[in-house]
Assembly symmetry: C2
Homo-oligomer: 358 residues x 2
């Protein structure tokens, strides 16, 4: 039996609850396949600010770098909203991503048949939607220099730089083409090359990489059009690759059209051999924190992505995903995905139900 070192960052809001519901499920799924997980908890975000004054303390960075994978719940809350940016929970998340060089953020937006009616879009429009968004995560306007403020003609000016170099675009394109090969073999690259030079380079490099993937059908779309087409006909998309901020926007939009944000996992992967970050797409939901109302399934499914993509434990991942499906099929629902005729349960109980189905 192999041992896997997992850095567990439970973060803020509903984070500790969904983590508490998830870890026993992961342990059990591992045990069933002869794999052992060793969890090391470390603070991040608001919890880390309260404990150490820093949203991503050096001690947490050490734990993450020494692990095989990082399992993160969620961060942020009203409490820290008025702090200057450099000291806010979000900054901890950005520094975590950057320090691990977790450059490829994979965000599936899948409409589950059991939940197709939960979408605000018509069932016939979303049913069968299965999109993977591959978002560049450690470059672009999030990290571009120069950035900041200056004074010009007596007034304040704020500025940021959207920048991509060939090698950055190439490595994210390869991740996306590889992912598309394992899916529907359709890749849509999203940018704004009719206006931005950085997007022209993006399009150029993605087109060049495509030569190595003759089986994948590559298309190009402007970000404004993509934001429209995602609503018009989401089923037309298979795999999408895009830059950091466009991916931020599109993946949130795509997740909402599934109608089940509480179900969506994500993976942020680094170079081979380096730990990736696995986390739910949803936020820390401070309004329901501590009330045992949260949906732990996105975190269980994030643990499954961790096993599949980060630890090469496909069987453990299969067990986790099958247990979630079984819990849904048996009619168990947390409040956010509750439907008539189903049985509403809290966060803890949902964890126990899934555990039983492992």
């Amino acid at each position: 039996a192999a041992t896997h070192k997992i850095a567990v960052l439970s973060g803020d809001g509903i984070g500790p609850e969904i983590t508490a519901a998830t870890l026993p499920v992961l342990t059990e799924a591992g045990r069933a396949e002869g794999e052992e997980f060793v969890f090391t908890e470390a603070p991040i975000g608001g919890a880390a600010i309260d404990a150490t004054g820093d949203p991503y303390p050096a001690s947490t960075e050490e734990v993450c770098k020494a692990s095989d994978a990082v399992l993160l719940a969620c961060i942020g809350g009203y409490k820290w909203d008025s702090l200057p940016n450099a000291q806010r929970p979000e900054k901890g998340l950005l520094r975590l991503r950057s320090s691990l060089n977790a450059f490829a953020n994979l965000r599936p937006a899948v409409v589950l048949p059991q939940l197709a009616d939960a979408s605000t879009l018509k069932r016939e429009v979303v049913e069968g939607t299965d999109i993977l968004i591959v978002r560049e995560l450690v470059g672009g306007i999030y990290f571009g220099e120069p950035r900041g403020f200056k004074e010009e003609n007596g007034e304040k000016v704020g500025f940021n730089t959207m920048v991509y170099r060939e090698s950055e675009i190439e490595r994210i394109a390869r991740v996306a083409f590889d992912a598309a090969m394992k899916r529907g073999k359709k890749l849509c690259s999203v940018e704004k090359s009719n206006v931005l030079e950085v997007s022209q380079l993006w399009k150029e490099v993605v087109t060049r990489v495509a030569a190595d993937y003759p089986e994948v059908e590559l298309s190009h779309m402007y970000i404004d059009n993509a934001a429209m087409q995602l609503i018009r006909n989401p089923k037309a998309f298979d795999t999408i690759v895009t830059g950091n901020i466009f991916g931020d926007i599109l993946s949130d939009e795509a997740s909402m059209l599934t109608g089940s944000l509480g179900m969506l996992p994500s993976a942020s992967i680094s170079e081979p051999g380096k730990p990736g970050i696995y986390e739910p797409v949803h936020g820390s939901a401070p309004d329901i924190a501590g009330q045992d109302k949260a949906n732990p399934l996105a975190m269980v499914l994030s643990a499954a992505m961790m096993c599949r993509f980060g630890l090469n434990l496909a069987k453990v991942a299969d067990r986790l995903e099958a247990a979630v499906t079984a819990a849904l099929d048996a009619g168990y629902r947390t409040g956010d995905i509750m439907q008539p005729g189903c049985k509403q349960v809290g966060c803890q109980e949902m964890g126990k139900v899934v555990l039983q189905f492992i």
Copy 2:
């Protein structure tokens, strides 16, 4: 009877058809109120490239600057897609906006009761939606310097600058607050201030301007969240103010949720006394160009916005809008908005129907 000088830019694709259907309607609505319109046509976009090699020739710029308002149809098409960016139709549009300093793009996204079923969103979600997006149009990353390409460590790097100065933010904020005052008195400012310095300045200045509008309820939202909330509950929005590229994305998303892109007008206004640009939100639809299938109503409604906001001819605007409503109520539909039990007509005939209802 006053005379109003209108620069008419019919552009590419379906542009000439919808222009031909619109101008007689506008003339007639003016005549009914004792107002005269003098139209001067000028080329822009692909048509201008073909005629002069330049998507925004100096002669067109002169016509626009000498006019009281610019009525634009739409630009672009496959034919010019492979030209370098500086020579493409889109560049003509960007230069038009910039040369007239048309800094405030107003894009209504209204779900018409007659067309509520046309949306891909559920009727109960979109019915009653009435959003005005106020997008900054001549600054931000579209025009920010430095921009371009450089060589670094032997590889190509592409970069653009997202930049806003206080005065730019203040003037668009005032337009948005003024608009909100005439509407539901709710303004949502959209940015990404948890990551970008330029957005922090945006938020700061909008918050400062709010002091002059105590009746308007101001909220702030991150762009990723806004892209979600627009789908989750569009009715929660009244007026939105945002920067150039975020506005590009959000307004396209919002227009698509109405289900009737062919119906949506826009206005891009400049300083008082300078001509604004009035144009449909939809593109040039080269696939149906020349087939008398296009929907001219967005252009008729753009002419109405021109009368209301650009020429201070509210009565002419009222007539135009009432005629469009009457045509819909009488059951006339172009193909894009066709519904069971309605009468399908072409572009020309729709123009004639609306003309009759003036």
